[in-house]
Symmetry: D2
Subunit: 381 residues, 4 copies
């Protein structure tokens, strides 16, 4: 990991400030022949846009992407794919009173301490709009993963302190998460959270939340022991998303206060499909060595990873998001010459970041897995 690039083989480099001419990304390493089009990108970007008028957000930003390279007649060429989105609809004026103040909860001051200046308009590269490039790249990663039957789904599992039913529990409905703008998988919970969010908005405050992610269809064997572990890569990918404070796999922190007899997932026999005529892990990644019996697990406290390697069970993890730092109630802070000042942030700001974060969590997960699938084609000779 470093700077503005992510990945080793399937890589993405993002660029663009929120108030510059355009934002975008360059995806390198996506193999040729993957069905991919502008429509795939539009779909993912719209899931990111607050558009739909959902209660957690108040901005409206049409983001029309353009593919500059790497795609021809509906399939990837195997060459770098560049996607850009022009910036419009940025109300610079909203930020003028911030020119000399450091906003609490934001990286304003550390940015200046590091670089000697900052672009005070809208957060520059720290802006949430930076995720646009990630989500566009995630669209390509998802297209690649689809060819292997791997599906990535995320949803808001908790917001403003109110938990939705978990996966597998009664009331959990992933389709509902796609219908309501909070991305909560239960209608009743969504309505309760909505009430709290409206109160917070009126009170000039904000709320944190948790995004949960589940990946199905991932074959066993992905990940490199020691430093290239699957969960280590994902953890780095998740914490690279703005506003994140924590990531947990499977039982997560609950495992820390549990017992081995309760946490160990019991191995049980399970049938696995074998790649035709081969005993090696093919690019299709759905075969296991024929000398090994197929194994599944009775429970999944591991969250789909053991020893840093995928087990074939669903990959499950959660990401904690802190409350949006830009709140409209008055706060105390310090200005550029060191005086204590009062600050009131104006403009259009979300109350809870989770709905917007869901497609970003999916994108970073898809990018991590696409990279690993290409890196890990076979550990055997």
């Amino acid at each position: 990991m470093g700077g503005s690039s992510f990945g080793t083989v399937f890589t993405v480099t993002t660029f663009g400030e929120s108030h510059g001419p355009a934002l975008g990304c360059v995806i390198d390493g996506c193999p040729a022949g993957v069905p991919f089009s502008l429509e795939d990108i539009r779909r993912e970007l719209s899931r990111r846009r607050p558009g739909g008028g959902g209660p957690a957000t108040t901005r409206s930003e049409p983001d029309e992407p353009e593919i500059l390279s790497g795609v021809f007649e509906g399939r990837t060429l195997g060459t770098p794919i560049a996607v850009i989105v022009r910036n419009t609809s940025q109300r610079s004026g909203d930020y003028d009173n911030l020119k000399d103040l450091y906003r609490p909860g934001h990286a304003d001051w550390v940015w200046e301490a590091k670089y000697g200046f900052r672009d005070h308009r809208g957060g520059g590269r720290s802006s949430g709009r930076e995720t646009l490039g990630r989500v566009a790249a995630g669209a390509a990663a998802k297209a690649f993963l689809a060819g292997f039957g791997v599906t990535v789904r995320a949803w808001t599992s908790s917001a403003a302190g109110i938990d939705a039913p978990g996966a597998g529990e009664s009331g959990f409905d992933l389709e509902e998460a796609e219908r309501n703008p909070l991305r909560v998988p239960n209608r009743e919970t969504a309505e309760r959270i909505l009430k709290v969010i409206e109160e917070l908005r009126s009170g000039g405050d904000s709320a944190g939340g948790i995004v949960s992610c589940a990946v199905t269809g991932l074959p066993p064997g992905l990940g490199d022991p020691v430093f290239g572990k699957l969960d280590a890569r994902l953890a780095g990918a998740m914490l690279s998303i703005g506003a994140t404070k924590a990531v947990a796999f499977g039982a997560g922190f609950a495992a820390a206060s549990s017992r081995g007899s309760l946490q160990n997932d019991r191995p049980v026999p399970k049938k696995y499909p074998m790649a035709p005529g081969s005993d090696t892990n093919t690019a299709g990644c759905n075969a296991i060595h024929t000398s090994v019996p197929g194994i599944g697990y009775e429970t999944n406290n591991a969250g789909g990873v053991l020893g840093g390697i995928s087990t074939g069970m669903p990959l499950e993890f959660t990401v904690a998001f802190k409350p949006i730092a830009s709140i409209s109630r008055q706060q105390k802070t310090v200005d550029r010459v060191g005086n204590v000042r009062d600050l009131v942030i104006q403009g259009r700001h979300d109350v809870c970041v989770c709905p917007r974060a869901v497609p970003v969590v999916e994108a970073m997960t898809a990018l991590t897995l696409a990279d690993l699938l290409l890196l890990n084609r076979s550990g055997r000779v």
Copy 2:
């Protein structure tokens, strides 16, 4: 990240299986002139060794390191530093009945699914002994960081479901953590945990726990926005440690159910030392741009990181460890031909991994920070 190497500039490559001739590491990129010796390595390794007979562990393994290169007359040469530790005292016999069984909670099966075979003796490269190379490398990283006044300390903050007082709370004593073999910073809590651990040992079970880490002296400005964030790098480093399930920075998951008005750390004026005659971030990394006033924060919910960049406040995070998978009570599993079988694991196994994990958490943290310090010398021209 990838395979057996960690880092971009200050790197470490570890090697060695638990039943091979030797384990070790090669540290590359450590600048010349750092005071470093065999004694520094011995000290860190002994903190890792269960030696002291502490109740959480039952093995005794003298690990005498040898420096093969890179150090001369008490200082680093700037060339790669190779350290090895010969393997002795491994009771292979303990593992014979495991040859055909997949141990629950271990990576036995996924390893075979990935590679086509596994070294059944003691976990091969998945073994806890692999951390030996990490800790030796961490000793070099710590020596480098010391030159910048950066100190890394970790301790067991929770085990078997019992929490110790937190940093800053009454009863928190870091020196106590160095005295008791559980590494718990409170004598009374350590004794209570010890009781539970003894019960678990008799009952053939195990417990999870949480390791907390605090870094002081870290200058503001470390970390690269977007993908090279300080917390993203650390998250990847922590999840690369065996038995980890989660990592959380600052308020962590608590932030997810909190409010912006509560989570935003208020900026306050603070005096910073300036590098003599310079306004840039020197290798000493303790200066900030002169055009920027010094800022501190009234609280530290951020945990010392904002926007992925260090703020100058203490860097604070926690790591959740699952219970040791090797428990001695009977478990059900599957064997190499797919039959359901009973399994009883014999041999010497820890009950809770946290005491051993503490120096590993410190090592990985030191390595991440050393790498970033070298990578981040200045973001300005």
Copy 3:
């Protein structure tokens, strides 16, 4: 090195096919504050364009660049800099008869063997137009290097078998190289070469040549021993340029048939400027450790590099280019179903690539040095 990205800290990712919507690059890792503008890019791109109607080329392609991010009010922001150039003026029709034939000297067949298809229009990503992204990125690298007093200059030192006077020899005039479209540093030689080129063009043939490069102002100490050597990095950078066949440093192949007594450059005392108040290598990289006397060399057979580290003498190397593969005389080849066929390549093609290659050699050199300067700030603690 890998795929479409180059560099470790100061990196460039290029994208774009010659017949896609646009070409471009993303430069990441350029520190903030470097004076840089669209004009700098235009200037370098125009040096690359065959425009000026020079005899070695026959195409005319206006390439108007656009900066999408990373630059604000004439200075770099320290964020990724994205530059695009839209494709126009491509006469696709010229290539239709090539659809089923493999052109000799081109990568047509290996590309299909590797990817399963190829974009037959104009070479796809293998096209010379791909260098556009490199040259744009080189403009940023040059701007960064200028701040350290480092200058990169290249010229055509030989073409069609006719050698120009070498640097330091009578008749060598670098300003002349900027005046004539062959980029040859001697008017008389340029005219002789021009004659031969016209004959070759009429005869439907092409010529190879050599590009020489000299870097002045490079401080001693750049480069990492063993695998990160300065000349190793440059060699990889040069051979990544299309149509290259060899690279030689200093005396090059002549050293292979020489003697140690003749090749060893004699050290002589030399005064070096010291960075004020410091004995370390600063970001300015123009200081050497105070305990070391200043050394120069009486001759420069080494070409400015010893043991892979810059010596402070001018860095000098040459790059051999093979003749342009697209010649208009009839050639024999094989078609897509394996039959032997005759081929006549139509369209607009250069006779000798060297004039166009000069700015590309400069760009790749600047990118390599910028990366190394950032990577190598100090090897000392």
Copy 4:
């Protein structure tokens, strides 16, 4: 590339100073199951040792390797392979008079300028003994390549200005190169060179030379366009070897003065083996896409690479080595306080480095190809 590590997937990290306790390497990323043993390493190391008393060298250094990890019962485990060789037989006394002098042609001064000190005994990490780690790692790479039918062979094609017959020419005998200690593929030429070398030794001088390398069995399709070209990677690998001044592929510099009609290799039909039941490039890398006819080339001016991708023809290149810098005749130099001094280098030094360089060229080539083979498993989905 960077510092002491080479490669992206199949990597090697070398360590060890010539006067430290030991030298060695860690090979990471070698897949499991490759037949490999201590004997393979011994064989390659002995080819490197001047042992055989050959005229070009005068030292005798028994180097007994030890494998510390990664190999079990004659096959690689897929885990990192650590190999060490203890240092003995170093006559430190030979170097005492050099303590205050900078040897011409060596990196003594640049090393001090960069690091602030140098280990004056025998060249530290700049010593030729550093290649020991590379050659040991090359043994593993060769073992891996053997499984794909890829063979790497190098030889001394020119020394002291005397050329041996080239590959394909009358008198060229690769077996003779393995019999005589100069590694020259023609007995008569070897004897003529030997005479000149003896004269040079008496006269206290040294000679340069050229090492040629040929790789057979390499499948078409290896290499990544733009920056990951096969020849770019090899060029960087070659120039990372000490004493190199240039590298040339195929016709090399001769192409620069030739014509397109002469340099273009004519495509001709050729039969290729297809992987059973598959049209993709398997790990075996010996299939090409079925929709593509098999192509060979009538000549091989390209040297086996086109557009940076292997063509399936033999990969052929040459590396120029400068004369050994340590000559025994008197030279003028500068000492550590800046005074001009006379210097006479004593001790045991080679006259021409080529015989020793041959196994190093083979090792670096094997490492580059092994890495690329793993990286390039398929560009198609």
